[in-house]
Structure formats: structure tokens, C-alpha cells
């Protein structure tokens, strides 16, 4: 059965990109990161947020609200919710890193559980409701297929060697994909975990361990090495 090429899973492949183009992309990415960091510092200075007895309760409520929004947004495909986490880190500093870490893991597992357990028709309707047409279309195509066929659909177009490697080292690939900067163009952490759940080839506990390790570098660096966001 002939299938259309899956744009969603080929975006990472820099087909035809010259070294010059790749270098330019890296420079642009670094420039964006520097500008975002600079902006975050400006915002923090402007807010001059000091936690005092008279505002601690409000800060606590804002943090809880932000954490819930962070979990929800990060779990959505194509939503760069990680920026909320970075904004919270920039505002509250290293002390908030453990909370961000726990929320990130919870969010990733929420997306994974939705992909794995939510009836696929319900998932399609949910994604359509959220106006995520590309993902909804992908899920729609995957709906009538068996688990093996779904896997084939998700990695359609790859060479046998790449396929074999991807399957053998799927947890490593998952960790890499979740950590890749700019992965929001292929679905973001939420989209990647949703598809991981949908694929049915990841054990939930192993996926949890993978995610727990994969998202740990930034909060660990903030806590133990004093990395400034």
C-alpha cells in the first residue's frame, strides 16, 4: 500500500542542507538563545521580584498556577511549553529547578499516557478540537492500523538500517529527541511523547526512566553548578 511521505517525521533530516546552511542555522539558534537569555534577565530585573512575608502567599499561588499551566502546555504537541519553564527558572532562580524538573517529567508522562491509553478516535477529536490539524491527521491515519502498522507508519521512509538502529536504541533516540533544541518543529516534547505512547513500543516504566534522565541536565546544572538562566 503506497503512503504519502510523512513530513512530520522527516523534518529533523537536513536533506540537501549544505554545511553553510547548517552553520547559519546554528548561529541563528545561538543568537536567539542569547537574546532570550538577555530578555529574561531584563524582565527579572524589571520585576525585581523579592519574596517577602506580605507576598509569599501570592507567589506560592502564582507558582502553582504556573506549574499546572506548564504541565498542560508542555504535554501538548507543537507547543513550546519549555519556555514557560525557562521563564520560571529565570524569575525564581535555582530554587525552583526541582519543581520545574518534576513538572517536566509529569508533563512528558501525561503526553505518553494520553498517546498510549486514550482511545485513538478520542485522541483525534481532542487534537482537532485543539486545532492541531497535522497531528490529528497523523492520528487519523494511524487509527485503523494495528500496532505494528502504526510503527511502520511513524517511521515510514527510513532505511532498514536506520529502522533497525532506531528500534534497538529507541529509548536513547527518545531521550535525544526530547532534548533536541528546537524540537517543537517536530512536535515538541509533548508531541514526541504522545507519538511514543501511540507507537506502543515503549514500556511505560522504561519511558519514565528515560524521560527522568533525559530532562535532568538543565535542572541539575542549575542546582549543582549554579548555571544562570
Amino acid at each position: 500500500m503506497a503512503r504519502e511521505p510523512r513530513a512530520e517525521v522527516h523534518i529533523l533530516k537536513p536533506a540537501g542542507a549544505s554545511y553553510g546552511t547548517i552553520a547559519l542555522r546554528v548561529v541563528v539558534l545561538i543568537t536567539i538563545l542569547v537574546l532570550v537569555t538577555w530578555g529574561a534577565h531584563l524582565i527579572r530585573d524589571a520585576l525585581n521580584l523579592q519574596i517577602r512575608p506580605d507576598n509569599e502567599q501570592q507567589v506560592h499561588r502564582a507558582l502553582m498556577l504556573g506549574a499546572v499551566a506548564y504541565i498542560g502546555l508542555l504535554a501538548l504537541p507543537f507547543v513550546p511549553g519549555a519556555e514557560i519553564g525557562l521563564a520560571m527558572l529565570a524569575t525564581f532562580g535555582a530554587a525552583i529547578a526541582p519543581l520545574i524538573y518534576v513538572c517536566t517529567v509529569a508533563s512528558m508522562m501525561l503526553a505518553f499516557a494520553v498517546g498510549r491509553f486514550l482511545p485513538i478516535s478520542a485522541l483525534e477529536r481532542l487534537l482537532s478540537f485543539l486545532r492541531m490539524r497535522r497531528v490529528a491527521a497523523l492520528v487519523s491515519r494511524a487509527a485503523p492500523l494495528s500496532q505494528d502498522e502504526r510503527l511502520e507508519l511513524l517511521i515510514d521512509g527510513q532505511s532498514k538500517r536506520a529502522l533497525s538502529l532506531a528500534l534497538r536504541y529507541r529509548y536513547f533516540a527518545l531521550a535525544l529527541a526530547v532534548n533536541t533544541p528546537g524540537n517543537s518543529v517536530i512536535g515538541g516534547g509533548g508531541g514526541i511523547m504522545l507519538l511514543a505512547g501511540l507507537s506502543g513500543i515503549f514500556s511505560p516504566l522504561a519511558a519514565l526512566a528515560t524521560v527522568a534522565l533525559a530532562v535532568s541536565p538543565v535542572p541539575l546544572a542549575v542546582v549543582f553548578f549554579g548555571l544562570q538562566i
Binding site: R52, P53, D54, E56, L63, V105, L205, L208
Partner: protein, 160 residues
């Protein structure tokens, strides 16, 4: 295994991971360390009220307030404004005519603990305190110092 059990297992494992992470990464900040000594519940400062002016050592923010001592208990009007700490037992010790005092106030409605340690010499008071808030996700501490002097007691406590 039924799906609902699998979902519950994932939720439990995620929560467990979160709880372990928090217990490992969320470092506690100790309360103000009060020097050891022959602390007693003497009521040596009873029926005295002090007007104080202090500052937050980190932010530099300035605050004023009243401290009252009654029947072996202590109350800060400023702290009372933010949480219903009520009256806390205080202890004293005397060295060379200076009365040292310490007390710990615990907020019943929120995870705030305030530890005071100060000296009263004549009508003057100097103190330091830590206001520590221990939330499940972080511990925040505010360190303050203050000085002040005794004011006439109106008999109504610290609200003044």
C-alpha cells in the same frame, strides 16, 4: 493488566519519582541559630512593648513594627499581620545587665517559622530573625535585623 491499572501505575511511578526528586534536591535552610546558654522562662520582659525599625538583609526593604511581651509570651504585630502566629512562649538569659531573649513563632495556617533572637539593654532592643517558609517544592528564607526602643504599653498587646 487492565488499562486503568496501568494508568494508575504510571501516575504512581511519576509521583514517586517526583517525591524522591523533591526530597533529594529540595535543600532545607536552617532557622536562625540561637546561641546555647542557660535559657529560662523567666518573663523578664513581660509588660514591655518595643517599637522597632528593621530591614530585610537581602532586599534592603525596610519595615517597622511593634513587639510585645506579656505573661511569658511574645508577639510581633508585623508578623501577626501576615499570619495568625498568636502569642509564643519566649525564653531569656541575662549577661552583664543585657537581657537576651529568643522565641520561635509557628504559623498555624501556612508553613512559616519565625525565629527571633535579640538583646534588650535598658530601653533599647536589637534583634535578628529568620522567616523561613518550607513549601513542598522549595524553602525560602528571609533574614532581617531590627533595632528599637521601648514605648508605653497600652495593654492591648502588640497591635499598636
Amino acid at each position: 493488566m487492565p488499562q486503568i491499572v496501568q494508568v494508575a501505575a504510571i501516575a504512581l511511578a511519576t509521583l514517586g519519582t517526583g517525591a524522591v526528586t523533591m526530597s533529594v534536591m529540595n535543600e532545607d535552610i536552617p532557622d536562625l541559630e540561637v546561641p546555647q546558654g542557660p535559657w529560662t522562662t523567666s518573663g523578664a520582659l513581660d509588660n514591655r512593648t518595643f517599637e522597632i525599625l528593621g530591614r530585610d538583609e537581602n532586599s534592603g526593604a525596610v519595615f517597622d513594627g511593634h513587639l510585645a511581651f506579656r505573661n511569658g509570651t511574645f508577639q510581633s504585630a508585623d508578623c501577626q499581620e501576615y499570619c495568625n502566629f498568636g502569642w509564643s512562649d519566649y525564653q531569656t538569659k541575662e549577661t552583664d545587665g543585657v537581657i537576651h531573649f529568643t522565641t520561635t513563632a509557628v504559623c498555624p495556617d501556612a508553613p512559616h517559622t519565625v525565629v527571633f533572637y535579640g538583646q534588650v539593654e535598658g530601653d533599647d532592643i536589637a534583634l535578628e530573625l529568620t522567616w523561613t517558609t518550607r513549601r513542598w517544592y522549595w524553602t525560602n528564607q528571609i533574614v532581617m535585623t531590627a533595632t528599637g526602643e521601648v514605648v508605653p504599653t497600652n495593654g492591648a498587646g502588640a497591635e499598636g
